[in-house]
């Protein structure tokens, strides 16, 4: 069942078109990511869903009902912002209980809820603390707890972990995943971190320039990106131009790249291979190593031949040097062909 439905949504801000024809569905209990670079419109999409921005066209349905005319406080959506926005004049318990207090829930029930949520996020006993007394990580958890305590139908997270260091970010991701499993809350996570999206989502929506380019499971989006733009989001990709003729793909770089049998129709193609899908063959060859970047477990190596530059990945215990001439082997089955 669709818990959230955006239909043909167009949003303009200050005269600029931000969202252009967004069609987006989220099932109940799903956790999906909106992944894209800065300025692609993902935060705008989130705010429009919550009712903070009015669309120029299109409908928003939450839990099956049309909410276009509803104010933000009536929609059942809660946003956790990147800058947390904890209320400084209230203590932790009052912050967390704010949502229920606005609904007019009984004080005792609120108190019990607050205590239970504090335990869930690992902050038991902090209910009387002042907000500014807490560490950054603790404040993050309070912000999350506050959103959950408000019992929303849809939880919206706007890049909530961007400002955290790696360690804290991992902990928070695990916490969100754990809570999501417990509460089965429909969640939309906005992020520009592709690793985060892959790790946490049931489905990922890749956004670029106000449109959703692909919306599928992490595996599908990563291994079968619909367009080069989507592929590029997950890292630097290799593109080998070539053509298909009578069931055989041949790159324009005849000499240095082997051909490949394929059932694709004839025409010009761009073959996309991830750096990890081109193997380094340590024998004297035609590919010149231009640069080597050390990344801990692996090396990123730039090679070139006859004007074509490629990026390949190899384990960091390999013995490689700049200026060396090597060979490569393409993992064709894993590659994606884009018809030109």
């Amino acid at each position: 069942m669709d818990n959230l439905l955006l239909s043909n949504l167009h949003v303009s801000l200050g005269g600029n078109k931000i969202l252009m024809g967004i069609n987006f569905k989220v099932r109940k209990g799903e956790i999906v990511s909106l992944l894209g670079p800065s300025g692609c419109g993902k935060s705008t999409l989130l705010k429009t869903t919550a009712g903070l921005i009015e669309p120029s066209q299109g409908e928003v349905y939450i839990g099956g009902r049309l909410v276009n005319r509803l104010a933000p406080e009536e929609r059942g959506t809660v946003i956790v912002f990147q800058d947390l926005r904890l209320f400084p004049h209230m203590n932790v318990g009052e912050n967390i209980g704010f949502g229920l207090r606005m609904k007019g829930v009984n004080k005792e029930i609120i108190r019990k809820n607050v205590i239970s949520i504090l335990e869930k996020v690992g902050l038991a006993g902090c209910d009387k603390s002042k907000v500014y007394e807490l560490s950054g990580g603790q404040q993050q958890r309070v912000a999350l707890a506050r959103a959950l305590a408000a019992e929303p139908e849809v939880l919206l997270l706007d890049e909530p972990f961007s400002s955290l260091d790696e360690n804290l970010r991992q902990k928070m991701r695990e916490l969100v995943i754990k809570l999501h499993r417990e509460l089965n809350l429909t969640t939309i996570l906005v992020t520009h971190d592709q690793e985060e999206a892959l790790l946490m989502s049931d489905r990922i929506a890749i956004m670029l320039n106000g449109q959703i380019l692909q919306y599928d499971t992490p595996k599908s989006v990563y291994e079968n990106p619909a367009t080069p733009e989507v592929a590029n989001y997950f890292g630097e990709m290799n593109y080998i131009e070539g053509f298909v003729e009578v069931g055989h793909f041949q790159s324009f770089h005849n000499s240095s790249i082997d051909g490949y049998k394929t059932s694709l129709k004839a025409g010009k193609y761009s073959l996309m291979l991830k750096p990890s899908q081109i193997k380094l063959v340590k024998e004297p060859g035609v590919w010149l190593i231009k640069a080597i970047s050390y990344l801990g477990d692996k090396y990123n190596i730039r090679i070139t031949n006859n004007g074509l530059d490629l990026v390949i990945v190899t384990a960091s215990n390999t013995d490689v040097h700049i200026g060396e001439l090597v060979n490569i082997k393409l993992d064709y089955p894993k590659g994606v062909f884009y018809k030109k």
């Binding site: 903070l52 104010a71 406080e73 209320f87 400084p88 606005m102 500014y132 408000a150």
Partner: protein, 271 residues
């Protein structure tokens, strides 16, 4: 310069500052109880309770004037805030034509001498029947207070923005609940500053009240000034001390009560 020397100099500066502010007050207090104090002597020759009698005795009406002044200034301060808070929010959060011009115009009553525009206001008030009335005086006082209150509230609003309000709304608070639960408490330190500022500006007005009020509306300042001009230092000092004490009591009362009610420390600007 060693750390210890630095510390000592800083403390010395602070204490000198205290002294320079409090010593004249001390002199005023002594003068209030003076009978005769000829020049070369360090302390008065005779003491007298003449001033106390004058102030609190039956005929003077000084206490009455004090109370009615206090009320007028309180109303002025309140109305100034009621106008300034929404105005500040509009200036900071909304983009409208002429916004920068408005920010400058609001400061005019401080830049243009009051006597210059008060005459014109008095003529207008006479035509519409507000001259010689308390309402007229209150209105003009508000004009004089607005530069301060609008400026203070604008700064306060700029520091906090509307981020917390937006967060409160998505958490389920209606606009009215947002105002009472978030906007007002957060703006409270600024509001206290503005109210104190407006109160003192209004309470200190002499010429304007005389002009617009036409002598019908009597404020404490109007009571006090003739005595200061007259050269009777004892009574003038007594009036001044009472003036200072009243405003001090108002400030402290506001500060303590409101902070206690909202249980907040000092100013916190979160971003």
């Amino acid at each position: 310069m060693t750390r210890k020397n630095n510390n000592f100099i800083m403390r010395a500066v602070v204490y000198v500052g205290y002294f320079m502010a409090l010593f004249p007050l001390l002199v005023l207090i002594i003068w209030s109880f003076t009978g005769i104090w000829p020049w070369p002597q360090l302390l008065p020759e005779t003491f007298s309770l003449r001033a106390l009698d004058e102030l609190f005795g039956g005929y003077s009406g000084a206490i009455k004037a004090l109370i009615s002044s206090g009320l007028i200034s309180a109303v002025v301060a309140l109305l100034s805030i009621v106008v300034s808070l929404p105005a500040a929010r509009a200036i900071v959060l909304c983009d409208f034509l002429g916004r920068d011009l408005l920010k400058f115009i609001v400061l005019m009553p401080v830049i243009v001498p009051a006597t210059a525009f008060a005459m014109g206001i008095d003529v207008l008030f006479m035509k519409i029947g507000l001259s010689d009335t308390v309402l007229g005086v209150i209105l003009v006082h508000i004009i004089l207070c607005l530069p301060y209150t609008v400026r203070i509230m604008t700064e306060v609003t700029e520091a906090t923005g509307d981020k917390l309000e937006v967060q409160a709304r998505v958490l389920g608070a209606s606009p009215l609940k947002v105002f009472t639960n978030i906007t007002l408490p957060i703006a409270l330190p600024g509001i206290i500053s503005s109210v104190c500022m407006a109160f003192i500006v209004s309470f200190s007005q002499y010429f304007i009240t005389l002009l617009i009020g036409g002598g019908t509306v009597v404020t404490y300042a109007m009571f006090m000034f003739p005595y200061i001009q007259s050269g009777d230092r004892t009574i003038a000092s007594a009036y001044s001390v009472l003036f200072l004490l009243s405003t001090l009591i108002v400030f402290v009362f506001l500060d303590r009560t409101v902070k206690k009610y909202y249980d907040i420390g000092d100013v916190f600007y979160f971003n």
